[in-house]
Structure formats: structure tokens, C-alpha cells
Subunit: 444 residues, 2 copies
């Protein structure tokens, strides 16, 4: 009786709290793991350990240590595992929240989850997690095999194979961790590595529901509206930002300037894709033009897809914001897209999500500026990168003092847990209220 | 017959086009005026003349010349007149647009305007303009008299009286033009000047409808929802930003650091009020901390009131955005405030307005960064200042090359005409459409 009662209470913990506790526990475990003498080449401080663990679990990728040089193979395995658990936890939890919204979760003929989390049996959750794990491992395995073709000739069999596994996991989970201090800049011109890494993080960034749709249906016409918007939006964003990057950096001697045409194209595509929250880089972020840096910050805010391993306000949120604005000027009260209609309730959700994200980003930036000295643009970039769990840096991460590290860790955590918590709140039902007479406010 | 036909066509010009033509004509006239040899101490180029005219007509206040030193009294009178015409045109046009929205325009028992601009008689428009002119001149006259008390002892009767008139007009119209190269920094600690200037630009920034409400009704309970929100929001923003400014700049040796308590308070209040689009300054903008600079940019984007001489997305838009977000998390589909309800249609208007403004600000910033070299923060600040027609600068205005000047002029023009044009589009009626089945997009 007592056991059953406490069990019931446990399952009734608010899901956002479950998420926070899950991530906090993972970070604590990771910190302890990384503090073990066997994990590092030389002993590291608690501050280094907890920062690395937070960055790995939140799949951000900002690093105060050199992952390849300061950690032993055991330390690297711990980091890789934290990335994998953080990414899996994220996808599973996001799908759970969607199911609570009463939305179809992709596998249309196998509904694992009921509309209410309290009614979800452990069996359903296990089955769902199994499907997700299967998809994730398959993608990562294929990725690691292809990356081996690049890494083994360059680094030898053992180091090459491990590097392939590590970067495949890091890429699919949009973690941005690399074993090399200049990220993947050494292979900036290698088309096979670039395309593989891009494919991994773009697929990982599309989100479980989109992957499931594409996997099952194999026909554009049958895809859900969400899948269509994600595929369409991702393609448009990739094309647009590749073009913009090429144009703006073409003559920059520190980035594309000295490269040949082919390399310029490969680097541009990679850099255009990575800010929407992969976080790898093949050129030095601090060398980018200010205009490119601003574009990167915007892409970092947009982020990737729902139920994905990426962060940001999400591509669909961005599209709906754009469409809502256009619809308004066309004097429509709903958005018609791909033969489907999005009503005022969906638009209000987008507004709420965008406003909260914007408020979080601006307050984070504000706190960083108040408590940490440094160049405005570098700090703004670092903050947005942490909030969007992107992991790109203009070099601030290494210079952070204890206060700065604490703030960035907090922002990474909020950036990871926050949007999902908002998703949860959006998932709960509306309450009724007494109606006041209507009022008017002038806005123009 | 022919005359009547052409007359009918003229009155049917789209109002946004009328606004653009009106402002463009004023700028051309002002440019020619400022190019007259009598207007300047030494001959100036067309570029200087057109930039100054654009800044004055759009009541922005960014300056490439020293208004007090480079222009003669005649040149200063031309600038003052352009500010007055730009400000008056703005208020009149904004009220016109509100009347097209079918909204009460303040003077509840004297409706000068019909719901459709085409039905508005010239007599109605004249009557409205007369009321606005009467209010504006009264405020400016009182302001000039009080400012004389400060300026005449310091500058002598003639110069002091002219300075009082010029700064009163500039303040009420939120123009930010000053006859002194360091704006009003000489009088940073003078409470009478500070309070007068603040009162002038805050009242001018509340907007015609609010002034009319307060003038006529003299009781909080009778005020319209819009008036309540504007008064409430302005007060909250003033208190909050004064506190934040004091805290962040308290020990900055280049701003508050060397001042006594009283001066610190006066300067903080003035600086907290001026970014919401007055544009005067009593400390050097380039000496502010980066965190304060970020706060200023946010305040510049928020701006002042509808039907006022100020710019930005407007205080009410900002409040409704905040309330909509809060309402959403309280699971409400409408906003209840001061015993009135704002429905989904109003919230969608706010969303559209905020998105368009944000898009305009970011694209402006982007264009400036691509085409003009310089420090990121300084350029970002200058761009936001131009867009919000604020006029504060971290020193970029003087360094602008021809391209930079052209872009800033364009941004000032768009910042001035754009929001009103959006207001006009929002004022037009909705069309009906065939309804598609509803779709869903995941956002969290
Ligand atoms: K990342
Ligand atoms: K101004």
C-alpha cells in the first residue's frame, strides 16, 4: 500500500521536473566519471569536469579543455556516452511531449503512447525508446563506417576507427564535440567527410517524427504537414545560407579567400549547415566577417527540428512565424500551406514560444555582459551558441572566468531543458474563464 | 468632367504612398533650404544637406554636422521647421490611420474622421489638424518658457531664448537635435532642464490619443484601455530602466562614476527615458558599458506610443506581446487587462507588427555590416537608433562613408514610414477564403 502510493506519486512528478532531474543526474554522473584519474592525461579541476559534462549532456559542444589531447580514450568514451544519452533522452522526451499534445508521433500505425503521460505504460515507453535507439544506432553505424574511409588512412586503424565512431555519434546528436582542437578544419576540403558529417547532423536535426515519416511513407504526398515543412524549410535554409556564406566570405583571406573553387563550395555548405545546431566548424569562427557572424547568430536561434537532437526555436516555429506574418498582410486569419490550415491557436503557440525564447536569449546575453568582460560580439555569439546548444565559439570559452563558466553552463542547461518545458506547458489543456468586454489597443 | 475625374484619382492614392510622397517632398524642400548659402556658416555638400534634412524630417536626430556650429540661425530655423512639420505630419497621419481602423481617436464626443479615408472631408482633416497643432504648440510654448529660465542666464537673452525654443520643439517632437555637439551634457546635473526636457519628450511620446484622453477625462477610471496601458507601461519602463541604468553605470568613471548622488539620479532618469526615441544624451554613448548599451538597444526597439512623434514597435505592442505570452502560459486564449479583453485578432496584429519590425531591424543591421566597416556594437547601435528614429549614436554617424550615409538615410526613412504603413495595412479589412482542413506543426 505504501509502496503503491509512493509509486503513484513518483509517476505524477511534473514531466519538466523529470527532465531537469534526468539531465542533472546525467551531468553529475558525467562529472564524476571525468574526474576519475583514468579519464584524463593530467588531473583536471571540478570546474573543468562539470563544464565538459554539462556541455556533453546538453549536446552543446562548447569546450574548456581539448577533448582529443586532455582526455584519455576512457575520458573520450565517457564524453561520447554522455552525448549519446543526452541525445537519446532528448528525442524520447520530445516524442513523449508530442504524444501528450495528442499529436500523431510519426509511426502512424503504431501508437505507442496515449494522450496523457500518466496513462503511458512503461511498456509503451520502452517500445518507443527501442525504435528510437534502433534508428539512431543505424545512422551512427553507417556514419562511422563511411568516416573510417577518411580517418583510417590519415590516423591509423585504431585511432581512425575510434575517431570515426566518436565523430559519427557527435554529429548525429548535433553535439559538435570533436577530438581535434580546430574541430574538423584539417578536413575542410574533404568532400566525403564533409558530406557524411552534414548528412548525419542534418538527419539528426530533422527530428524523430520526420525520420519516421520518411522511413515509412516514402512519398511526398503522404507526408504529414510537419514533415513537409521541415524538409522544405531545411532545404531552403541550406541553400540560402550557403549562398550568403559564399558571397560574404569569398574574398576573406582568413576563411574562403585562399581556397580553390571546389573547397570554397564544400566549406560554404558545411558552414551554412553547422550553425543550426551541429556546432562543428571547418574555418575559424573568430575570422568570419561581422555580417556572417550575425547570420550565424540568426541561424543558431532558428535551430533545427522538433523531437531532434538540435536546439533553437526550431525550423517549424520560424516558418510559422514567417507565414503568419505574410498571412496577416494578405488579410487572412489562418495559414494555408501544403493544402493544410494552421489556425489562430497554432499561431499563438508560435508567438508564445518565440517570445519566451527571445526573452531568454536577451536576458542570457544581458547577464553575460554584466558579469563577464570581453568583446561584445564574441560574448553575444557565445551566449547564443550556448542557448541554442550549438557549440560554435569565437574563442570566448577558454577565457571564461568562474562566473562566466557558471553562467554559460546555466544557459546551456536552460537552452536544453527550456524549450521542451515550454513544449510541455503548451501541451496542457486550456482552462475556461469569465469573459470581459473586449478592448482595443493601438499598435501601428 | 476631366478635372473631377483627376481629382477623384488623386484622393484615391493609397495612403502609404501619400505618406511616402509627403515625407519625400519635405526632405527635398529641406535639403534645398539647407543648401542655401545663408543656412550655413561655410558651404556644405549635398550629402550633408540631404542627410540632415532626412534626419530632421524623420525626427531622428543623427547628425553629420554640428547643428549649433555649422548652421546659421537661418539654417537652424529650417531644421526646427522640418522637425515641427515632420512631427505634426506624423501625428496627423497616425490619427488618420486609427480612424480608418474604425477606432475612437481620443476626442470621443467630436469625431472628425469617418471610417474610410475616401469619405474623410478636407474640413474634418483640417479640424483635426487644428486640434493637434493647438496641443503641440501649447506644450512647446510652456516648454520653451521654462527652458528660458535655464538657457538665458547661461547664454544671454537672444541665444538663450532661441535655444529654449529649438530644444522645446526638438524635445516635444522626439527629434533629438541639439544645438550643442555633446547634446545636453553641459546641463547633465541641472534638474529643471532635465525634468522639462523629459516631460516634453515623454508627453510627445505618449501620442495624441493619450494626450486627448488625459486632457478631456481627467479620471483614471474613464480612460480608454489604450491610455491606461500607455501610462502604466511608460511609468514601469521609466522606473525599471532608471534603476538598471543606475546600477550598471554607478561606478563607470566615464559616466556616473565621478558624479554626486543627486546628479547620478538625474542623469539616470534622463538616460533611462531618452532611448525610447527622444535621442538626447547627457553622457557619452560610447562610454556606456556593453550591458547598458544592449539595454538601450532594447529600449530603442520598444520605442514610444502610437500617434506620437516617437518610433519603435511602440509601448503597447511590447506590452501586448508580454501579456500574450503570459496569457498563453496561463492557458488563456485572450488577454484580460484593466477589465477589458484583447482577443486573438489583436494578438495576431501584434505578432505581425513585431515580426515585420524585427525583420526590418535585422536586415538593416545586416546591410550595414556588409557595406560599412566598423565596430559591430557601434554599427548595431547606430542602425537600431536610425530604425527607431532615436538619434543616439556611439560616434559612427560622423565616420559614415557615402554608402553608409545612404543606408542610414534609407533606414531612417523606412523606420519612420514603415510602421505607419504597416498600421495602414492592419487597418484594411479582411477578405474571405476557402477553408482547408486543419494541420498541425510541432514547435517545442
Ligand atoms: K551542438
Ligand atoms: K529622435
Amino acid at each position: 500500500m505504501v509502496v503503491s502510493h509512493s509509486k503513484r506519486k513518483a509517476t505524477q512528478l511534473p514531466p519538466p521536473l523529470v527532465l531537469v532531474l534526468l539531465y542533472a543526474s546525467l551531468i553529475v554522473a558525467g562529472t564524476i566519471g571525468l574526474k576519475l584519474p583514468v579519464a584524463t592525461v593530467a588531473p583536471i579541476g571540478w570546474s573543468d569536469a562539470i563544464f565538459t559534462a554539462t556541455s556533453a549532456v546538453t549536446v552543446t559542444g562548447l569546450a574548456v579543455l581539448d577533448t582529443g589531447r586532455d582526455f584519455t580514450i576512457y575520458g573520450q568514451i565517457i564524453i561520447c556516452s554522455m552525448i549519446q544519452l543526452g541525445g537519446l533522452g532528448l528525442m524520447t522526451f520530445a516524442v513523449l511531449i508530442l504524444s501528450m499534445l495528442g499529436l500523431p508521433i510519426g509511426f502512424s500505425n503504431r501508437i505507442y503512447l496515449r494522450e496523457d503521460l500518466n496513462q503511458t505504460s512503461a511498456t509503451d515507453l520502452m517500445a518507443l525508446t527501442k525504435v528510437i535507439i534502433r534508428i539512431v544506432l543505424l545512422c551512427e553505424l553507417v556514419g562511422a563506417l563511411v568516416l573510417s574511409i577518411v580517418f583510417i588512412p590519415d590516423l591509423g586503424v585504431a585511432q581512425g576507427a575510434w575517431s570515426a565512431v566518436f565523430h559519427s555519434v557527435s554529429a548525429f546528436n548535433n553535439a559538435g564535440f570533436s577530438l581535434y582542437s580546430d574541430s574538423l578544419s584539417q578536413w575542410a576540403g574533404n568532400p566525403l567527410l564533409n558530406l557524411t558529417i552534414i548528412l548525419l547532423f542534418v538527419i539528426g536535426g530533422l527530428g524523430f517524427t520526420v525520420i519516421a515519416d520518411v522511413w515509412q511513407l516514402r512519398s511526398w504526398r503522404k507526408y504529414s504537414l510537419h514533415t513537409k515543412l521541415m524538409l522544405f524549410g531545411t532545404a531552403i535554409l541550406l541553400v540560402f545560407s550557403t549562398l550568403a556564406f559564399t558571397l560574404m566570405e569569398w574574398n576573406n583571406p582568413e576563411t574562403l579567400g585562399g581556397m580553390n573553387w571546389g573547397t570554397k563550395l564544400v566549406v560554404s555548405l558545411f558552414q551554412a549547415a553547422t550553425p543550426r545546431t551541429a556546432g562543428f566548424n571547418t574555418v575559424d569562427m573568430a575570422s568570419l566577417n561581422d555580417s556572417t557572424t550575425l547570420m550565424f547568430m540568426i541561424l543558431m536561434v532558428i535551430g533545427s527540428g522538433s523531437t531532434s537532437t538540435g536546439g533553437g526555436i526550431k525550423v517549424t516555429t520560424f516558418i510559422v512565424l514567417l507565414l503568419a506574418t505574410i498571412a496577416f498582410f494578405k488579410r487572412q486569419t489562418a495559414i494555408d500551406i501544403f493544402g493544410r490550415r494552421l489556425g489562430a491557436d497554432q499561431i499563438m503557440k508560435v508567438l508564445a514560444l518565440a517570445m519566451v525564447s527571445l526573452a531568454l536569449i536577451i536576458s542570457s546575453m544581458f547577464v553575460m555582459l554584466v558579469f563577464h568582460e570581453g568583446n561584445f560580439l564574441d560574448i553575444a555569439f557565445e551566449t547564443v551558441s550556448a542557448f541554442g546548444t550549438v557549440g560554435l565559439s569565437r574563442g570566448v570559452t577558454g577565457d571564461l572566468d568562474q562566473i562566466g563558466r557558471t553562467i554559460i553552463m546555466f544557459i546551456m542547461f536552460v537552452g536544453r531543458v527550456g524549450p521542451l518545458t515550454i513544449g510541455f506547458v503548451l501541451a496542457t489543456q486550456k482552462s475556461k474563464r469569465i469573459s470581459y468586454p473586449s478592448g482595443t489597443v493601438y499598435l501601428g
